[in-house]
Symmetry: C2
Subunit: 334 residues, 2 copies
């Protein structure tokens, strides 16, 4: 039996914002799984900001995508054929061969998901890599301490929305920034942020000062640029910054203007720490216990922005980089 | 008995590089020490880069100097009159009322120095605040680990020269940058640095890459600006940066251009940590044991650049900011 599968390939390396023509939809025939392999029918796939880096040909912590080859990323699917005794047909699994409808992969690259904890696609968001990113970034990298005032940018996204909620569960004052009035309302009304602002409404510096007049102690940076400068300026002594991403710069075609006030980190005794969640897989059990528990108890909430069909995955990704999602951006495949 | 004492006062807040006219030499009459006080005849005083910040009227971790008032800073002196039973006449002490020939101060603000460990003025340099800065910055803030390649800027200065030597004692490869051929020779020939370069000789990025082709793991930043950007670019994954100062910017009259590549800290998982040595006084005993021991064993060396006379203290300070010292810049007063 051969299975026809559609997949998205990298057609051209984007210059600036990715365009639909940078992607190519192709059909391939997928055969039978070899020994130790499974055939997975993908039901959901993830688009994440870090993928923009993989579209550019430069050394990084993950190798770049190759032109003419299918893209990759987190996906959820169901095992539809198995040649590995440990993984039965019908199992819901998560794996890294997204951007395609069907995938053949080694059984040990397909991790069963516990669908009693949440719907399968939650393992691409609040219970998956973005959730773990929020958890380790806030607790370990930013070393959240009692009484800290927390600021998070990209706060309505998959990572940011959980950062703020974890801090709220722990009793902190939380300020978030986001890119639309609707997102700001979501943060304040649904997620319980103490303050939130739309960064289009004026300088981040002024809005952050107004939202946190006594300063901030932790900044979780998803954005970089002006947000990072404003956070450094607003930081109290001994503050900590988790450097998670700089989405404001991912599509930049010229060198961004730079962080002009980093020297303040000396007198303020600030710590800035960059991190990549894959280094912290060991924290997954703690994360699933804590965040899974808060989710069951109704203490945290999440939203999804869903685009349907593999052919629309590029649109979902372009929209993600443009901030057109609230909560986790997902592509539903089946 | 009244004692005539000359002192240096802040005459005007400098714009850019301090000028001699920003300082004023004045004579005052110093009376007898009150109960619990001592009269100290200063023999040495320190000029340090951080004092530039205190000449500007802005909030910081130490209050600004006041116009018309004497400046302050580390000094060594001898108790010449005591009204405090615990501090006898003739004791060598260190204290914070420099920039003057005589000082009256509470006995608990004058700390006896152990002149068996080194000459008194060493407690303003290698055995004092600059030395402790190097020690805690390298070991605690940059978390020096086995095998780390260490880069230090301002490497011929009081702090930088000790940073490099501590790293050498611990068996590390050390690269330093400094501002003259003589300083570079000092680093390589006298202090045993593995590589050193004059930052005037070309881009810091290119020279650092040539000196450390396999990258660096620790950067001790005394300079900021271009050096910090080059270090971020040269950092290996999980590298650490101790942010000690930004002397390249202290005299800046416009906003410096900013650090354009800080977003690299995410993928490289870098930690940048600002610090102020006064937070780490608890490390003084460890520091004196280790660095005092290495000094006695001849494993570390230090140099002084000495200017004589209180009237030349402004010249010494201006020269320090201009890099005209090798090792610790001191003013000899008596």
């Amino acid at each position: 039996m051969t299975q026809v599968s559609r997949e998205i390939r990298l057609a051209a390396r984007p210059v600036g914002e990715p365009k639909p023509s940078d992607f190519e939809l192709a059909e391939v025939e997928v055969g039978e799984p070899g020994p130790g392999e499974v055939l997975v029918k993908n039901t959901w796939m993830s688009v994440d900001p870090y993928m923009r880096g993989r579209m550019t040909d430069r050394p990084s912590y993950v190798p770049p995508f190759q032109i003419g080859q299918p893209m990759q990323g987190g996906a959820i699917g169901e095992v539809v054929a198995s040649n590995a005794p440990e993984l039965a047909t019908g199992t819901s699994v998560q794996h890294m061969l997204g951007w395609r409808e069907y995938a053949i992969l080694p059984a040990d690259g397909a991790i069963p998901v516990d669908t009693s904890a949440g719907p399968p696609q939650a393992f691409l968001g609040v219970l998956g890599m973005p959730g773990l990113t929020a958890y380790v970034g806030l607790l370990d990298k930013a070393e959240l301490r009692d009484g800290d005032v927390v600021f998070v940018s990209g706060a309505a996204g998959a990572v940011g929305s959980l950062v703020g909620q974890i801090a709220k569960v722990r009793g902190h004052t939380v300020v978030g920034s986001a890119g639309s009035p609707g997102k700001v309302a979501f943060l304040k009304d649904e997620l319980g942020f103490d303050a939130a602002f739309d960064y289009h409404d004026g300088s981040v510096y002024d809005q952050l000062r107004a939202a946190a007049p006594d300063g901030i102690d932790v900044y979780f940076d998803n954005v970089g640029g002006e947000h990072l400068e404003a956070a450094i300026a607003a930081m109290n002594p001994f503050g900590r910054i988790a450097l998670c991403g700089a989405i404001s710069q991912y599509n930049a075609t010229e060198a961004p203007p730079g962080i002009r006030n980093l020297a303040l980190a000396v007198g303020k005794r600030l710590t800035l720490r960059g991190f990549i969640v894959s280094d912290d897989a060991a924290r997954m059990p703690d994360f699933l216990r804590d965040v899974g528990g808060w989710l069951r108890e109704g203490k945290i909430h999440y939203r999804e922005t869903v685009v349907e069909g593999i052919e629309r995955a590029p649109e979902a990704f372009i929209g993600l980089l443009d901030g057109r999602n609230t909560g986790k951006m997902l592509v539903k495949l089946a």
